[in-house]
């Protein structure tokens, strides 16, 4: 075979190589099969143990207050729950539709569910689909209510924990929540359906606007 190849002139050599590559491509067929995925379990295990798979509610609250819009926040619950209340800047994507949802693989995706379990499972699904930056909110919406909307006064009265609580009071008010001052107050934390959404100062939204300059055309 190599003798035959060596006898060919340059152009024919190139043609031969091209045909071989083409035939191989034919055999490979369709490189991207949407139903099968390849994961690196060691990588993922490492990410999980390092905590690189999730973010805290306080971090997200910070980003929203600062108007950082470099992420896509997805609410995995059904639309009824979503309409009752959702974290500001969230999009409603029920878990069943998550895999078909239009998100580029280089975008930062943050997901949350009611308690956080579904979202941690969905994180694995996103990673298996090749999303480089995927995070779930640890504790889910429950944690958001507990820490952000209705933060409780600390049990001890050290200056640090009091300072922290004061900060959380401001955050809570920003999101329209109500901090719980005294620890003896055990009333049910009810989310008022028409909780006013805070005015978010956002920078340019992810995904580009219509006014953006034509960037990638010819």
């Amino acid at each position: 075979m190599t003798k035959f190849f060596n006898k060919l002139n340059l152009n024919n050599k190139l043609a031969f190589i091209a045909i071989v590559l083409g035939l191989t491509a034919l055999i490979i067929g369709s490189p991207t099969n949407e139903t099968k995925v390849t994961i690196n379990p060691n990588d993922l295990a490492l990410m999980i143990s390092k905590g690189a798979d999730h973010i805290e509610v306080e971090e997200l609250a910070d980003w929203i207050i600062q108007g950082k819009m470099d992420y896509r926040l997805l609410d995995l619950r059904d639309d009824k729950s979503f309409n009752e209340y959702h974290i500001p800047t969230a999009e409603n994507v029920p878990l069943s539709e998550l895999m078909n949802y239009q998100i580029e693989r280089n975008e930062k995706v943050i997901i949350y569910s009611e308690g956080g379990i579904h979202s941690s499972q969905a994180w694995f699904l996103l990673k298996s689909k090749g999303y480089k930056s995927a995070y779930f909110i640890i504790g889910g919406l429950d944690e958001w209510k507990d820490e952000i909307l209705f933060p409780s006064a600390p049990a001890d009265s050290t200056s640090e924990s009091l300072a922290q609580f004061n900060k959380m009071k401001e955050v809570s008010k920003f999101f329209g929540g109500s901090p719980i001052e005294s620890t003896s107050n055990t009333t049910e934390k009810v989310i008022v359906p028409y909780l006013t959404m805070p005015k978010i100062q956002t920078t340019a939204p992810v995904g580009g606007t219509t006014k953006k300059k034509k960037k990638e055309g010819c």
């Binding site: 590559l21 491509a25 490979i28 067929g29 990638e216």
Partner: protein, 197 residues
């Protein structure tokens, strides 16, 4: 998946402009290597005397196509992040026809005219002025054209998707088609080269 590097924020916009410049140098270099700074050589394609346009274009397309296919197969590049552009069937067909006619009238295409200008061709300069005039004219009558301009949008669609055949099969067919075209080109050149220019 690490590529396309820019889409994964390996570097910022400013650096991408430098990269654009460097890639452009490579582009212009190989265009001139092939002799495409000369309108006569380019036009000779359409009189079957010199089939370099076909050879260069399809070699380039096949090379990049095969490269993309295999890089995608080994998971190095994420094709979903490569800009493809929507297909607007009718405007592209009409534009292609105009471009083809303009090619023989003008003797260049916008890319090769840049190479012509930088190697001293005066007709290249005039050609570029014409291109700018053509774009300006288009811009001015754009409100009248916008209906047609945005018509027949098929979205981002590739040949494998259109005829519902595997990507690899299409790659193979394109390679076959290109090789056949090359064989035909060699034959045509031999046959017509004897004609006195």
């Amino acid at each position: 998946m690490n590529a396309p590097f820019y889409k994964f924020n390996f570097f910022n916009d400013e650096v991408s402009l430098i990269i654009a410049f460097v890639i452009g140098i490579g582009f212009g270099f190989f265009l001139e290597r092939a002799g495409f700074g000369s309108a006569r050589k380019l036009a000779a394609q359409f009189y079957f005397r010199d089939m370099s346009v076909l050879k260069v274009m399809f070699s380039a397309i096949v090379t990049a196509m095969i490269g993309l296919f295999y890089l995608n197969w080994i998971g190095f590049i994420d094709l979903s992040l490569v800009y493809k552009g929507d297909t607007y069937l009718l405007p592209q067909i009409a534009g292609g026809m105009l471009l083809g006619i303009g090619f023989v009238v003008g003797g260049y295409c916008p890319g090769t005219s840049c190479v012509a200008v930088s190697t001293g061709r005066i007709d290249g300069i005039i050609y570029l002025v014409g291109v700018i005039a053509g774009i300006f004219f288009f811009g001015e009558i754009f409100p009248l054209l916008s209906g047609f301009f945005y018509s027949t949008n098929m979205g981002e669609i590739t040949l494998p998707q259109l005829i519902n055949l595997p990507y690899g099969l299409i790659v193979f067919l394109v390679v076959l088609m290109a090789i056949s075209a090359f064989a035909g080109a060699e034959w045509a050149e031999k046959k017509f080269r004897n004609k006195k220019t």
